[in-house]
């Protein structure tokens, strides 16, 4: 067992534990905090996989911006404990076996998948410069399209927030 593998297993346990806690908690603010734990653990795993830039983006955008928005909305709406009804109990009995089955099938298929022939390039570890170059040359059109997507999202949020329903 190398140091990398031990670190990875540690982070993986933290991530899975956070995800289970997200489902187990009944109060939304507890779920939000455990989701932040999952995202920080995933950032560590990105670092181990050699994607430094993505690890930073994960911390800044996901754990920083998106989760702050979630916590802000939970506090603004004063969200309380979730109510359990007969339908939600039925969903539990049906959902848990289906979820376990889905996880097993996905994990088995993905673990069995053989990677195709290797690309001629070198290892992807520590290639932030190459990644940025790729983003601004070959993928510059989708990159510019995302700015339009964000503009549309801003307009949509303004319209939804201003409308008196």
């Amino acid at each position: 067992m190398t140091v990398e593998l031990i670190l990875f297993l540690l982070l993986a346990v933290v991530a899975v534990g956070g995800a289970i806690n997200l489902i187990a908690q009944t109060h939304p603010i507890h779920s939000a905090l455990s989701l932040i734990v999952v995202m920080v653990a995933l950032a560590g795993i990105y670092l181990l996989l050699g994607a430094e830039l993505l690890a930073m983006v994960q911390i800044i955008v996901y754990a920083g911006a998106i989760m702050v928005l979630f916590v802000f909305i939970i506090m603004l709406l004063n969200a309380g404990k979730e109510e359990r009804t007969a339908i939600s109990r039925a969903a539990t009995y049906l959902g848990v076996p289906c979820g376990v089955l889905l996880t097993a099938v996905l994990g088995w298929r993905m673990a069995m998948s053989q990677p195709g022939p290797l690309a001629p390039g070198a290892d992807t570890e520590g290639m932030s410069r190459e990644l940025s170059t790729l983003l601004f040359t070959r993928y510059v059109f989708p990159f510019e399209l995302t700015s339009i997507l964000i503009l549309v999202a801003i307009l949509g949020v303004v319209v939804l927030a201003k409308r008196e329903m």
Binding site: I23, P28, L42, V61
Partner: protein, 100 residues
């Protein structure tokens, strides 16, 4: 077994947990968080496959997924605000306007 293979299995587990939360949570905000968890799991598998095949394209796609996820979070939160204001509840069983 290389590290990336373990990461792929972890991403499958996280996706399954996210789907599980999506199915049986009743709070609309928690359901939204489960969707974010599934998006994160997919991002992890992109990074792992990028590492496996020595291709940087996977990491580029993760950027686009993160951009779309943040736009989706902003719009989704605005919709949740409106729903909560109209229905005075965050329970999805109370939000049944489309039901016959």
């Amino acid at each position: 077994m290389p590290l990336a293979s373990y990461a792929v299995v972890l991403s499958a587990i996280l996706f399954g947990l996210g789907a599980l939360g999506f199915v049986f949570k009743r709070n609309i905000i928690t359901i939204f968080m489960s969707i974010e968890l599934m998006l994160n799991a997919v991002n992890l598998s992109f990074v792992a496959f990028s590492r496996m095949r020595h291709l940087l394209e996977g990491q580029v796609f993760v950027f686009f997924v993160i951009v779309v996820a943040s736009a989706e979070a902003a719009v989704g939160m605005a919709i949740i605000m409106q729903v909560a204001r109209n229905r005075q509840s965050l329970n999805i069983e109370r939000i049944d306007l489309l039901k016959l």
